[in-house]
């Protein structure tokens, strides 16, 4: 985080996107762990604006979204069922004024060109890049409809680049190798380990007596992909970035579930004029037990032609929009600040794939 703070102070970056799982057990010990996390975060976040995205630990750690939603703006579950609720107060002295002040004072959910009216998911345009943050803990119809509208509202001549981000990756080599594993454990309802990829890929659990059966990682992934990938294609989303799996992975541009092909059917393993979305996992911002061993290897194989690089160790990503046709991605080691992987995406024809 000191790296990010320093980068922000030095103008290397202007803001931070945190893709969820902000801290373990945010609601633990009567929320005091969440307090500690946010206090520790203060030196960085009081000087460098951030965009928080929701992960599984903001949902599952005992208070079901409340801490996260309160942190991010204020309409909370369980907090608005009181007719005499005075929890939201403003300087306005009329109902319309109160509505307007809420709308303008709160953050991302109200400010996008298509307001989502929730901090679970939102969009924000920063000059030439639009960032849409999603809540894949529950990819409901309302969220999908909003995303479609949000992405459709972007004038690509003004804002050529689109980044869609959530906590959960859609393409990652470990997912592909564990499609038959239990999604319950993968998604975070079961315990995760800190020092590995984080999530136990264990066999599917037996169906319970009430007939409820565990879903496989593959089934969950299919469900998410079938809903989201068409939207990424329809709107020509350049990058999809996620966390959750505690390491780094990047793909080549993806088309129809595989690396994109040229007219002769040959794999296109470059970022020159992509015909599909590039998927990145940057999920080891500082998990407990993260060690200084940073590795980076090719994950490309006949079974995973789409897979480009897979690495371990505490790292973060850096996105720099150079201009309307060039965007740079950097993979940065936390302990040293070294850039260990970078690539430039060149796209001169932004729009549907």
């Amino acid at each position: 985080m000191q790296n990010l703070k320093t980068d922000c102070e030095n103008g290397v970056i202007d803001f931070i996107v945190h893709m969820g799982d902000h801290a373990y057990d945010l609601a633990g010990a009567g929320d005091k762990r969440g307090d500690a996390y946010m206090n520790v975060f203060q030196p960085t976040l009081s000087t460098c604006p951030w965009i928080p995205i929701i992960g599984n630990h903001e949902v599952n750690d005992g208070d079901h979204y409340q801490r996260y939603l309160n942190m991010t703006w204020g309409e909370t579950l369980g907090d608005s069922d009181d007719e005499d609720d005075t929890s939201i107060r403003s300087t306005a002295d009329s109902a319309l004024g109160e509505f307007l002040t809420k709308a303008t004072l709160f953050g991302l959910g109200f400010h996008s060109s298509v307001p989502s009216n929730t901090s679970r998911y939102f969009g924000v345009t920063i000059g030439s890049i639009h960032i849409a943050g999603l809540d894949l803990n529950n990819l409901d119809k309302g969220q999908l409809a909003w995303l479609d509208d949000d992405l459709a509202s972007i004038d690509r001549k003004v804002t050529p680049w689109i980044l869609v981000s959530s906590h959960f990756p859609m393409y990652h080599p470990l997912l592909q190798s564990n499609l038959n594993a239990s999604s319950t454990f993968y998604l975070g309802d079961g315990h995760e380990k800190f020092t590995t990829s984080g999530h136990d890929f264990i066999p599917l659990m037996q169906c319970q007596n009430d007939g409820i059966c565990d879903e496989s990682v593959g089934m969950w992934l299919n469900s998410i992909q079938s809903k989201l990938l068409p939207l990424l294609k329809k709107h020509g989303v350049d990058l999809y970035d996620a966390g959750h799996v505690h390491d780094y992975a990047s793909t080549y541009p993806m088309c129809h579930g595989d690396v994109c092909k040229d007219e002769s059917g040959k794999d296109i393993k470059s970022f020159n004029e992509p015909k599909g979305t590039i998927h990145i996992t940057e999920g080891n911002g500082g998990v407990p037990g993260v060690n200084g061993t940073n590795t980076l290897k090719s994950c490309n194989s006949k079974k995973k032609e789409w897979c480009r690089l897979h690495g371990t160790g505490g790292n973060h990503g850096r996105i720099i929009v150079l201009n309307s046709t060039h965007l740079k991605y950097q993979h940065v080691e936390n302990p040293t600040g070294k850039v260990t992987d970078d690539f430039v995406v060149q796209q001169s024809n932004h729009g549907p794939f």
Partner: protein
């Protein structure tokens, strides 16, 4: 004969490096929180100075909880989360609530605990002090400053949080915000827990702004600053999974804080640099 010392040296080097790697991987840093106080319901008097504990045995036990095996020189008797033990043995879903592991936040060594209580006790948070100050991007020209305060009772609806905000340290103007009373935590903590949101709009790209915040009843925060987003060439850090509030310190390898101050530690830097084999950072 010549080989024995070489081997010995190699073994010593390996042992030393392993030890430092282990220490470096402790992840956590000493974190002093002077505004938090001892709980009067469990402690008859006050926190003892960290370096003046009653017995040699106790001193040794508590010293071992600090990152360097000793309290920082500025620790006084402040509540703290000592880095040698904070988050120790933590795991997802099986972490035990151990005070000296700072499981539930900062603690101190109570001089005279009430019956049935230990010397090591959790501290209680301050009233009317802005904490957890952060800036969230709202749009390209706006950020929302949010912060938390605790009050003894739910404050009147008439009060609003205020920021003193401007592009010069000496020319700050008032910006009002709104308060959200967080019922969930207020109930849990037996006091009012409020979140405050204040929008800073019409920002000029790349310009540095200064601000202080306070709730309707709190003291003022320190003077802070930020630079508005330069949207001509957007550039940002992106990552997920920082996890534990305490073990999160791995991302803060070079600093620890005391209240709102930041201190640099060459010691930890040295360890990290030694480990990484790089002096470039």
């Amino acid at each position: 004969m010549d080989k024995a010392p070489t081997h010995l040296r190699t073994i010593l080097q390996f042992t030393t490096i392993s030890f430092w790697l282990y220490v470096a991987h402790a992840d956590v840093y000493d974190y002093l929180m002077p505004t938090w106080k001892i709980n009067e319901e469990t402690c008859l008097d006050t926190c003892m100075e960290w370096e003046k504990l009653p017995t040699e045995q106790e001193q040794k036990r508590i010293d071992s909880t600090w990152y360097n095996g000793k309290a920082p020189s500025n620790a006084n008797n402040y509540c703290a989360m000592p880095g040698g033990s904070a988050g120790k043995f933590e795991c997802d879903g099986c972490t035990k609530d151990v005070v000296t592991n700072s499981y539930a936040g900062p603690w101190c060594y109570c001089k005279t605990p009430k019956n049935g209580h230990n010397h090591t006790q959790y501290c209680v948070p301050p009233i009317n002090v802005p904490e957890q100050i952060n800036l969230q991007v709202a749009d390209v020209h706006s950020v929302v400053a949010s912060f938390v305060t605790r009050e003894a009772t739910v404050p009147s609806n008439k009060g609003v949080p205020i920021a003193y905000f401007g592009d010069s340290k000496t020319n700050l103007h008032k910006v009002p915000g709104i308060t959200h009373h967080y019922k969930h935590l207020s109930s849990a903590e037996g006091m009012s827990y409020s979140l405050h949101f204040i929008k800073f709009g019409n920002l000029t790209k790349g310009k540095t702004y200064f601000y202080k915040v306070q709730s309707a009843t709190s003291q003022l925060s320190e003077l802070l600053s930020f630079r508005a987003i330069d949207y001509d060439q957007p550039k940002f850090g992106i990552y997920g999974d920082s996890k534990s509030p305490l073990l999160f310190f791995f991302l803060l390898p070079f600093l620890y804080t005391s209240g709102s101050n930041i201190y640099f530690s060459g010691y930890y830097c040295t360890l990290l640099f030694a480990y990484s084999g790089s002096l470039e950072a």
